[in-house]
Symmetry: C2
Subunit: 341 residues, 2 copies
């Protein structure tokens, strides 16, 4: 059973739910924006499905729902944002201007975000930069859920890496991919819905391959592409831990209060200005020529194109959330029932 609502209704529900748990208006809007962007593109694992986790971390007091970030340039091409233990979306929103300016000044710039709580899809922030004409990377770690190649116990987070490339008069080419064979959210959803997952996604607590999502959640996820995905996960630990001075996934695993919400952690973004690399007049046409030729192969699509198609569907039809999620939101917040019977 599902409940239908418009994107505006879903956004309003998210804002009121967050506010009911002592999140201030500015933070509630920033967090709702990221969840509803995911709902809009039918990325359910990062949509309202995350709301109970956000609420739990407000209730436990782990996250400060009224935090304001402080942002400074700590080197000519490095911007550092301290989230002061708030949710990441407001920090990302406020750091976007300084990062963009820094990348345009220098050709390339980095943004390190610390003391922040990240629970959203990374494509949201790289696409926001690409909409402003910049190429962007984003990396974040989480808590141990994935075994390293050769190992059999959780160590790495699912550690996503996102990339976006700007296009003239078109939405960006973008991808956002976990270093794990699949996103943790998808395994959680499969568990909730009682579905099996594909072989290669994870192992049980004894290190044996399994397709039961509940066993994987007790055991460990596996990296995509074997040792190559594992190497990318390790790279992300280094960028998020030692480089910017935040918690690695194993550190988060030990320090998080396990309230179901996002742990304290960091994020690294890189922004590159394609007009500062010696090909200012050619990069847009060469991009379109590359994509055009790629799409001549039947069966090939650009990453993110499915999201852009989904966007048309939800603009027309609104979104659906499962009953049980809506019930949980009502229960967690005490908000009055507005949808369903």
């Amino acid at each position: 059973m599902t409940i239908k609502m418009t994107l505006d209704q879903a956004h309003d529900l998210a804002v009121r739910a967050l506010q009911s748990c002592s999140c201030d208006e500015e933070n509630a809007h920033a967090v709702a924006d990221t969840m509803i962007a995911a709902e809009r593109d039918i990325c359910k694992s990062h949509g309202l499905f995350r709301l109970p986790g956000y609420l739990a971390s407000l209730k436990s007091g782990k996250v400060n729902g009224s935090a304001r970030p402080t942002i400074e340039r700590i080197a000519p091409a490095v911007v550092r944002a301290d989230g002061h233990n708030g949710f990441a979306p407001l920090t990302l929103e406020q750091a976007r201007g300084p990062l963009t300016e820094c990348a345009r000044d220098n050709g390339i710039a980095a943004l390190s975000i610390v003391r922040s709580h990240h629970f959203a899809a990374l494509w949201i922030e790289v696409c926001a930069l690409a909409e402003m004409g910049l190429c962007a990377f984003a990396f974040t770690a989480y808590k141990p859920s994935m075994a390293p190649a050769g190992g059999n116990k959780p160590f790495f987070g699912t550690n996503p890496m996102a990339f976006a490339w700007p296009r003239k008069d078109k939405p960006p080419m973008a991808f956002d991919q976990a270093a794990s064979a699949t996103a943790r959210g998808d395994i959680m959803i499969a568990a909730r819905e009682g579905r099996e997952v594909e072989p290669g996604f994870g192992i049980d607590a004894d290190g044996n391959p399994t397709t039961d999502p509940n066993e994987i959640l007790k055991g460990a996820q596996l990296p995509f592409g074997g040792y190559k995905g594992s190497a990318i996960a390790l790279m992300i630990e280094l960028l998020i831990g030692p480089l910017i001075g935040e918690r690695t996934s194993p550190e988060s695993g030990r320090l998080d209060v396990e309230d179901g919400g996002p742990p304290q952690g960091g994020e690294l973004m890189l922004a590159i200005d394609p007009t500062r690399f010696g090909n200012a007049d050619g990069w847009e046409a060469q991009t379109e020529a590359l994509f055009g030729e790629l799409l001549e192969q039947e069966g090939v699509r650009l990453p993110a194109d499915r999201r852009y198609q989904n966007r048309e569907i939800t603009a027309r039809d609104g979104i659906e959330i499962v009953d049980s999620l809506y019930e949980k939101i009502l229960k967690d917040t005490g908000l009055p029932r507005e949808f369903g019977n």
Copy 2:
């Protein structure tokens, strides 16, 4: 049958072979350094196995064996090196100082290399930066050999991405991985040695899965991790093509003279100074704590550690190259026989 020689003998052989084909001394040494670094670490697919290709590209006149790069800072954090159609190693060697200085000045810096011919392992250049205390990324494209996810014809190069992280008093953590399920060099070696390769490495000319390396060389390699490796390959095309204004893999495929040597192409490197990100006092200890905990899991090793172990073997025992390769080098160069009977 193999021929044994010391690393110095192998280096000397490479230098003389290159010089016999009108490569000047400085370029010959730089190219030999990269091939012998690979031999030293028993990365055979990027060792002397590449020498006939280098020689062919000198003989065809495609590569200028006496080229000298020009290097300039084109934005505060962007260094651009024009290789003037020489081999990449000398350009990389000469750009290293300016890139390092630029990264230390700004916290992060990029190096774009254009009009260059790259045929070596990328870990060589990222490790050189990490030995100087910087974190480094490198990306390069090649010629079409890999089908995109969902497609069935070569489009992307094997498009490697390399990463290195500096360690106190230890060699860097580093990886260098093709976006393809395996390196093209390994498929070429399997073909030469008459061995099958693993399932998932490639498809034949009709798009059907095959384990015959000769059929894959006529058909297409496949990305690692399905659509995720394919997305990384596409990212690298954008960084090497539109961003820096060099040829994408499909463009190289159309423009290269197919002499068996490296096509004209570009490379992008990013260098990050870990002392400029707000964790100057903590990053080294946090790195070692992360690695120490990771290695507690049985069966897990750091990427590159096998190379460092191999380095001890070749320092003691020298290297071996297959007979047929040595014969080819003698035939291509007219050098006198010094090894074997």
